[in-house]
């Protein structure tokens, strides 16, 4: 009996020692994984202020937010009308223009300039660029076409262009992020 207990106690110590080594291994993995996530300087630089006073109706600009383009478009009344005329239920990603803009500022369409298919920058924000058959944005990589509310209408992209979190700090300045 005593002998058996002794054997068990000794096995226990060996198992405990190996387990401790395992815990140490896991402890080392935590910083190894964590160091690859965004660093403090990257996270800190994650809001952008954009002056929109110079954008005429029908024009758009590209700003930079989190190192990616963001499209700020001043919609014309005709474009707003076209967007509202669409049957929302028929859309791949059903959203109204009102849901994609701020109340009282429906003419300001602010979206990421990143195609929801595989991340290319769609055309249409620059003067004279191809805006696709729905008059919004057109992604040349794989042919996704967005309408005047930047909703996906045709092509492989699954979602509408993303609307980032933003707020109007004044009538002419938008803070994104």
């Amino acid at each position: 009996m005593a002998e058996e207990d002794g054997v068990r106690r000794r096995d226990f110590i060996n198992i405990a020692a190996v387990s401790a080594a395992g815990v140490a291994g896991v402890g080392v993995v935590i910083p190894l994984v964590s160091q690859m996530s965004a660093s403090a300087d990257v996270l800190a630089a994650s809001s952008t202020e954009v002056d929109i006073s110079a954008i005429q109706p029908g024009q758009a600009i590209k700003a930079v937010f989190r190192k990616q383009p963001v499209f700020v478009r001043n919609l014309t009344p005709k474009e707003i009308e076209e967007a509202n005329a669409v049957d929302v239920a028929s859309l791949r990603d059903p959203q109204t223009l009102a849901e994609r803009t701020k109340e009282g500022k429906e003419n300001w369409l602010i979206t990421m300039g990143v195609c929801t298919h595989l991340g290319c920058v769609p055309l249409g924000a620059g003067e004279g660029e191809n805006r696709g058959e729905f008059g919004g944005y057109f992604c040349p990589c794989h042919g996704s076409a967005y309408d005047t509310a930047a909703r996906i209408r045709k092509g492989p992209a699954p979602k509408n262009l993303e609307v980032p979190a933003y707020e109007f700090t004044t009538d002419t300045v938008v803070k994104i992020g």
């Binding site: 110590i13 060996n14 020692a17 401790a20 300087d41 800190a44």
Partner: protein
């Protein structure tokens, strides 16, 4: 044969060394090195303690805020702090809004969005502390041909750094009369300032902290020169190593675990070798 060759090579090196040694020793005796003023009058940093010292040391955030105030109101006129961003100041206990206000108080280089011309704009919290001079040439021109060094890493870039900074700031004195008598050529040149804690005794920086009450502390601490020097040194410990507290805390946890694991390892080792004489 190999051995004879080896001994010959050995003799080559040893004789060459003996020759160097002999000549060196002879020179030492016949022309002993002349004493220098630095050698006699340079002082090691004063003995001074900070809240962050020691294995369990933590920053005194009130003191860091005071030290930051000294940097902002006195040092920043000439010295940059280029590795520190305004956002880092939240670690001193400032709120986001306070950091924003502090940042806005500094002008940082920017670009005019309409013309593309270089311009100055108010800082934001993601900006780094701006440099007081555009480049080294401008710094030299404005400071009697000396470049004021960046202070971010100062307490790590000198031996016994925090004590060195404190000693230097409080160590300006008149040059001792006996020094000039003993080493007439070591008289402090005009434009430089005598300080025995500086390696070559004379530095270009004029005493920056000159009068009690030079800055007005918000927390009621009396702003003596000594207090301001200590506070700004503490602040520079933080700028050099903002992760100091985390490093020490993690260290204790790691050491505690390793001690436990090593004891287990030792017991396991004894247990496996039990009965095996070695």
């Amino acid at each position: 044969m190999a051995r004879i060759l080896s001994i010959l090579v050995g003799l080559f090196f040893t004789v060459a060394l003996a020759w160097s040694f002999g000549r060196g020793a002879y020179t030492q005796i016949t022309e002993p090195a002349a004493p220098t003023a630095e050698h006699h009058y340079h002082l090691l940093p004063k003995d001074v303690h900070f809240a962050s010292d020691g294995g369990f040391g933590k920053f005194d955030r009130q003191q860091l805020q005071r030290g930051f105030q000294v940097y902002k109101e006195v040092c920043s006129a000439c010295h940059s702090l280029s590795h520190v961003a305004f956002r880092d100041l939240t670690q001193l206990g400032y709120t986001d809004a306070e950091v924003k206000a502090i940042a806005a108080g500094f002008s940082v280089p920017g670009t005019d969005p309409n013309t593309g011309e270089a311009t100055m704009r108010p800082g934001t919290s993601t900006d780094y502390f701006p440099k007081p001079f555009a480049n080294d040439i401008a710094a030299r021109a404005a400071n009697n041909n000396a470049v004021p060094p960046d202070l971010s890493l100062m307490t790590k870039a000198r031996h016994d750094g925090p004590a060195y900074v404190y000693s230097l700031l409080t160590g300006f004195t008149e040059q001792p009369a006996e020094l000039i008598k003993e080493f007439p050529e070591a008289k402090t040149p005009s434009g430089l300032h005598y300080n025995p804690y500086f390696a070559n005794l004379n530095l270009a920086m004029a005493p920056p902290l000159v009068a009690d009450g030079q800055v007005e502390y918000g927390d009621g601490t009396k702003a003596t020169v000594d207090q301001m020097a200590k506070d700004v040194s503490a602040f520079l410990i933080w700028t050099a190593e903002p992760k100091l507290e985390k490093r020490k805390q993690t260290g204790w946890a790691v050491l505690g675990f390793l001690l436990f694991a090593t004891i287990l390892g030792y017991m396991s080792y004894r247990n496996i070798w039990a009965g095996k004489k070695h």
